[in-house]
Structures are given as C-alpha cells and as structure tokens.
C-alpha cells in the first residue's frame, strides 16, 4: 500500500512540475519591439517640412572616427536602406508632412541608423552624421529634451534601427541638436531577406502608428 501511495505522490509531483518552464516565443518576429519617445513640449503641428538622407548609416562600435565630416561611415545595404527610407517617407507623407531637400531649410531632419550588436546602445557618436547634416551643428551631439532613452544590454545578436527626428531650426553650435522624436526598433537578425524586410516594414509602420502626435494639423 505504501508503495502505491508513493507512486501516487510521484505522479502528483510530476503533474506539478509540468509547465515549470512555460512557453516562450516560437518565432523570431515575436521578439520584435518598437519603442518611441518624444518631447511633450514640442509642437509637431507647427512644423511641416522634413528632409531625409539617401543612406542609412551603419553604426559600428569603434571603427569610424571622422569627426570633421570629410569621410563617410559604412552604410546599410541598398536593399534594406531603400526599404527603410521608403517606409519612413510613406508614413510621413500619410501624416501630412512635406519632404524637402536638406538645403531648403527643412523644419525637421530624420536620421535613420542601424546597429548590429549584442550590446544595445541607443546613443551613438554624432560624427556618424557630420558628413551630411546641414549647418555643422552636430558637433555638440544629440540631446533629448524632456525625455530619456532607455539603455539595455542583451546577450543576443540583435539589430537596432534607430530613427531620430531632429529639430533643424533650433539646432545650435553651442547646444547641439535637439531630437524631439526618437524610435528604437529592436529584433533578432534572423530569417530570410523577405521575412526580415516584412518585419522591418511592419515595425516602422508601428513606430508611426504609436506616435499620433506627428499628425499634421490639416489631417487631424
């Protein structure tokens, strides 16, 4: 009888232990996240024009240090940079913004950059954009008025798409470049090119979806 009871106890213990390690993500895209933050005091309705570069900068840990803007950093492959820029452009147009050349005094400038790393930095050196940014203001670096960007580390090899919308009209040599809107998209660098592109497209759309304050007045 005691043996039977011990079997019963073992069965209970087995049932209880089932699910000790519950399910986690099954697919890579379940790990994709989209983070946005903005300066609440900035009136996005009072500005309308923006400029977008033709390239997406690839931020590496230490192998680019051209501070005078004479050299260009590495860029993301055209397949992905075209996708990133087109999706940003499409969303901005849908929200009522007008794209202009960077020499035509845009209100805002959008800087997309990509980082592939196991350490997640949401800050990167200003000189990655010094070759392109008009006015030479980036020398004092970025600042995020009224909000902070979180910083994490991860043991996984992941990719970050970092989109900064800078306030071109209020940049100054003394203070640097204010960034009223920031996007951090993070996910694993896995999957076929088409699958990866689909995830990227969806994530950029989501960044705009969760930032309704970007909507221009005439479209509200």
């Amino acid at each position: 009888m005691k043996i039977k009871l011990m079997s019963l106890v073992a069965m209970f213990a087995f049932i209880a232990m089932q699910g000790c390690y519950p399910d986690g993500p099954d697919y890579v895209d379940e790990l994709d996240i989209v983070y946005t933050n903005y300066d609440a005091s900035f009136d996005f309705g009072s500005v309308n024009t923006y400029s977008l570069p033709d390239e997406v900068v690839e931020v590496n840990s230490s192998d680019f240090s051209s501070r005078n803007g004479s050299d260009t950093p590495e860029f993301v492959d055209e397949e992905y940079s075209t996708l990133i820029l087109d999706v940003i452009r499409e969303n901005m147009t849908n929200l009522g913004w007008t794209e202009v050349d960077k020499e035509d005094s845009p209100d805002m400038i959008i800087l997309p950059s990509v980082s592939k790393t196991t350490y997640l930095y949401y800050y990167y050196d200003w000189y990655y954009w010094n070759w392109w940014y008009p006015g030479g203001y980036v020398g004092r670096g970025w600042y995020y008025p009224g909000y902070y960007l979180p910083a994490y580390r991860s043991g996984f090899r992941s990719g970050i798409l970092f989109i900064q919308m800078t306030d071109a009209k209020n940049s100054s040599v003394d203070n640097g470049v204010p960034v009223p809107w920031s996007v951090v998209i993070n996910g694993l660098l896995q999957g076929s090119p088409s699958y990866f592109s689909s995830r990227l497209h969806k994530a950029i759309d989501q960044a705009f979806e969760q930032s309704p304050y970007l909507q221009q007045e005439i479209y509200r």
């Binding site: 005691k2 009871l5 209970f12 519950p22 986690g24 996240i33 979180p150 993070n186 989501q206």
Partner: protein, 199 residues
C-alpha cells in the same frame, strides 16, 4: 532563503518534541491549481496548473492541530502584441509574463469531527509569500523578487481509510499584502488534491 530554512527547522523541531507527547502528525503533499485574483489577475489572467504544497500538522488536542506549510505555483501568460505607454514613451511588442510564488505559513487547524475517517477542517495560516515576477518583452527582461506578508484561510477535508495514510482536498486563499502605492498584487486561490501521511 534563510526564512525558509527557519520554517523547515521549526517543522523538524516540532516533530521531535511532539512525538514524545504521542501527538498525531499529518504530512500532506498536494497538487495545487492556482487561480489569481485582483491585481495579480490583471498581471496574469491564466490559472496555474503547475503547483504543489507540502504541509505538516500535528494534533495538540483531538480537534486542533498546529503546523506549517510551504507551497509553490508557477503562473504564466503570453500577452498578445500591444502598445504599453509610460509617460511620453510607447513600447510595442508581445509580452511573456511569469510569476513563481512560494507561500510559507504557520497554521492552526480545527477539525470538526473527532472520530471519523472523514475529517473536514478549517485552517488559518500566517506567514509570508516569496514571489519572483518576470516580464519578457523582445530581448529584454524585467525581473522582481519580493517577500510579502501573507494570510491564508483554508478549508478542506481529509479521508483516512488507512491508519497511516489518506487523501486530502482543500481550498486555500492566499491573501498577500502589497507595498503601498504599488499594483503588484499576488493574491490567489488554490484548489488542492493530494495525499496525507499519518504518523
């Protein structure tokens, strides 16, 4: 962990002392179904099918027993893709929420029938609950360990057709007191089914 060791030591010591008084001791091992309530349910809505409890009680009179118990339940829920806002920040993704809880209580137990194989009882426990709460989102993890004061009213019945063993069914409510100004509730019901060893 030190608190757990103290509880286990108390149980062991009490067994030693009360064996000399010819007190009847009961050790029960139960499977526990956990059902979150209140703020805890807001965090994880799903019931826990992974859980167990071990209790030891000894009778100090024909109708009253004192003892101690320790339990464990694992709660889990996958939250679908959603946007979470915190001030000006918005974060979208799928969340995986885990909560492991381990209640430890000293108990007083009253038996309604003195001479019967069926022993319905009511019990009340005072103790603590250790919780490990983990939220995974993307590649990031938020983790929190906490000890909370806890009360545990309980009702149940034991059926002992044999002199050395029987069965036990119980319903327990783990009232867990949270820190002020937080919404980190951990209160939950458990429905238990298991065996009792009588010494």
């Amino acid at each position: 962990m030190k608190n757990i060791l103290k509880i286990i030591s108390l149980i062991a010591m009490s067994q030693f002392f009360f064996t000399d008084l010819h007190a009847q001791g009961y050790t029960s091992i139960q499977y526990h179904l956990g059902i979150p309530v209140g703020d805890f349910k807001d965090y994880i809505e799903n019931s826990s099918y992974s859980g167990m409890a071990i209790d030891y009680n000894f009778k100090v009179s024909p109708s009253f027993a004192i003892g101690a118990g320790i339990g464990w339940n694992a709660f889990y829920e996958r939250k679908p893709y959603a946007t979470y806002e915190d001030g000006t920040a918005s974060l979208s993704g799928i969340q995986y929420r885990y909560s492991n809880v381990m209640p430890v209580h000293l108990t007083g137990q009253y038996f309604f029938l003195k001479e019967s194989n069926w022993q319905p009882y009511a019990s009340f426990g005072v103790g603590t609950l250790f919780s490990n709460r983990t939220t995974d989102m993307g590649l990031y993890r938020w983790n929190e360990d906490a000890w909370r004061f806890s009360l545990k009213p309980e009702a149940g019945v034991t059926y002992s057709p044999w002199h050395f063993a029987g069965l036990k069914a119980s319903v327990k409510y783990n009232q867990v007191f949270k820190k002020p100004d937080t919404d980190e509730g951990h209160s939950f019901w458990t429905v238990g089914l298991g065996v009792v060893f009588i010494k």
